[in-house]
């Protein structure tokens, strides 16, 4: 069974803290994605990676960075968390180019106080 896991289901952090969200997939997929989901806004792409050490900005990269040192792991970093980064964060992966099916992790609900 294919699997995408995320390091935490719920996370509470304080303003200004550095936050790491980790995502691991066991499907040997090349492409991995980080989204944030807010009510009424659907999924917005933060960053994606199409290979190890490769990354591309999505629609809302400001305030975030990413790291992909190994194929199976894609990390999202909030350098200095702010309250407007309180959101649901979803990681996904796909082995297909051309906008194929994406496999999602369970999500991390991050609250920044």
């Amino acid at each position: 069974d294919v699997k995408v896991t995320q390091s935490s289901r719920y996370l509470v952090k304080r303003t200004g803290e550095k936050v790491f969200l980790e995502c691991v997939q066991d499907m040997d997929h090349e492409n991995m994605f980080w989204y944030r989901q807010d009510p009424g806004l659907g999924l917005r792409l933060i960053y994606f990676s199409y290979d190890v050490k490769m990354k591309e900005k999505g629609d809302i990269p400001e305030g975030y960075s990413v790291s992909r040192e190994k194929k199976e792991r894609f990390s999202l970093i909030l350098e200095s968390a702010s309250t407007n980064q309180t959101s649901m964060y979803l990681c996904a992966s796909t082995g297909l180019a051309g906008g194929g099916e994406q496999f999602f992790g369970p999500g991390t609900r991050l609250t920044v106080l």
Binding site: G99, P106, R109
Partner: protein, 111 residues
Amino acid sequence: SQQGEEDPQALSIQEGENATMNCSYKTSINNLQWYRQNSGRGLVHLILIRSNEREKHSGRLRVTLDTSKKSSSLLITASRAADTASYFCATGSASNYQLIWGAGTKLIIKP
């Protein structure tokens, strides 16, 4: 950037009825996909329809695609309480890795 727009934003029906959700998009696509999200969870892929297909079935799901109108519909027949979820459409293109997402339809099935 959001391309897909789902309609309606929310839908509440009785168990056993059929549920229809619509999705419109703006640019040319390679495929259109539908996903389900149960409350507070990740998304699960339901069905993918390619741009050269007009209709596709999977169990109680029926998806249609009209590329001339840039729209798709998802029909869930004989709805069940377990179908209560948010449903998202997403479009894929041949030229990049990304999917473009709609804002979703929240479906509530009343017992």
